[in-house]
């Protein structure tokens, strides 16, 4: 696929990073797995909330294996939890819209990964906030690839293991309401939203979206108010230039405006 800008055609081999000095290699792997441990373990709250929302253990596990993107997974189970099966189309639509950012990350990561065929599908599945951030934060091509793959793998393994643990815990619990799991889900969304409120536009979007959800919830079927609230992003985003977040930049495992789960 496309060559990484500024790199001289050295990206024809695999992503093992064999040309990387041992200390750099160790450094990138350490960074990848510390990010993986930090984010991956949040799967425990996802697993518990998923079974509380009425999913089976295997359904929650499939979401972590195949959907594998935190915000979308939380949104999906929340809407199913409040609206039941009739809200499934809204749950699918909301989860998909929240996953669009991963597609945008793919535009960046595909430049340095140089993957084709089945490796491209695997790379796409591992394209999440963390793997993108660690990958593009590295100065050298081989470290970018190593950082992306190691972080993607670390988050995937830990997110799935902790989802299983959370689902088992959730099944052992009694009534989700008595245990405050509905409030825990609300807090999870607040924590996912919080780091994104970095600009005046983002805050304006959030306020407008909350207003839309508040006003339409009593009159529309469950799940629909959330989709309708997407209009807030259109209204604010198309209004005028300026005061929005800068382009995608990698730091130490965080993206500007990304949330704390995969």
């Amino acid at each position: 696929m496309s060559d990484a800008p500024g790199e001289q055609g050295s990206n024809s081999e695999g992503a093992t990073g064999s040309a990387l000095p041992t200390d750099r290699r160790r450094e990138v792997i350490r960074q990848a797995w510390s990010v993986g441990i930090a984010s991956g373990t949040y799967g425990i709250s996802f697993g518990a909330l998923a079974v509380a929302a009425g999913l089976s253990l295997w359904q929650s596990q499939l979401l972590s294996v195949l959907m594998f993107t935190g915000g979308s997974q939380f949104a999906f189970v929340s809407i199913i939890g409040t609206g039941g099966l009739s809200a499934a189309p809204a749950a699918i639509a909301t989860a998909s819209m929240l996953g669009i950012r991963n597609g945008l990350y793919g535009l960046q990561t595909s430049r340095f990964l140089g993957v084709t065929g089945i490796r491209r599908v695997v790379a796409a599945q591992l394209t999440i906030d963390e793997s993108t951030a660690v990958g593009i934060a590295q100065p050298e091509l081989r470290a970018q690839r190593l950082g992306f793959w190691q972080t993607g793998l670390a988050v995937f393994v830990l997110w799935n293991l902790s989802t299983l643990a959370g689902a088992l815990l959730g099944n052992a619990f009694g009534d989700p309401r008595t245990l405050g799991l509905d409030a825990a889900a609300a807090a999870a969304f607040v924590a996912l939203l919080w780091p994104r409120l970095r600009s005046r536009d983002a805050t304006a979007t959030a306020v407008l979206a909350m207003f839309i959800a508040l006003v339409t919830s009593p009159v529309l079927p469950a799940g629909v108010p959330v989709i309708l609230a997407a209009v807030a992003a259109l209204v604010v985003g198309l209004r005028r230039p300026g005061r929005h977040e800068g382009p995608l930049e990698g730091a130490d495992g965080t993206l500007p405006g990304s949330d704390p789960t995969p």
């Binding site: 409040t82 950012r101 945008l104 409030a183 609300a186 959800a213 959330v226």
Partner: protein, 104 residues
């Protein structure tokens, strides 16, 4: 639609969206307005989900109960830069405690 179908459809859609980033020419998505909207889209959806999960009750009615106190605790912990799991656990515990003493 069974729940299994919904889970599989949503999951496959998520993978296809990720894959699109590797297959779609970048120029198609490179516009400044497009990138602004896509940056704000998760903000809008997550903000709406906060409202629905915090104050919407059965049948879409607006209900003020233990959840709103729990979200208050979550906001305080976010201001204190607490860990995600700590925030979620503390919010759940707050609601459980309030309900145990008979409120919300």
């Amino acid at each position: 639609m069974t729940l299994w179908v919904a889970v599989v459809v949503a999951s496959v859609a998520s993978l296809l969206i990720k894959l699109a980033g590797y297959l779609v020419p970048e120029t198609l998505l490179a516009g400044e307005r497009t990138s602004r909207v896509t940056t704000l889209l998760p903000v809008a959806l997550l903000a709406a989900l906060v409202v629905v999960q915090t104050v919407v009750g059965p049948g879409g009615s607006i209900v003020l109960d233990a959840r709103i106190a729990a979200v208050g605790v979550a906001v305080v912990l976010l201001l204190l830069r607490a860990n995600f799991l700590v925030i979620v656990l503390a919010a759940g515990a707050t609601a459980a405690l309030l309900r145990a003493i008979g409120w919300g």
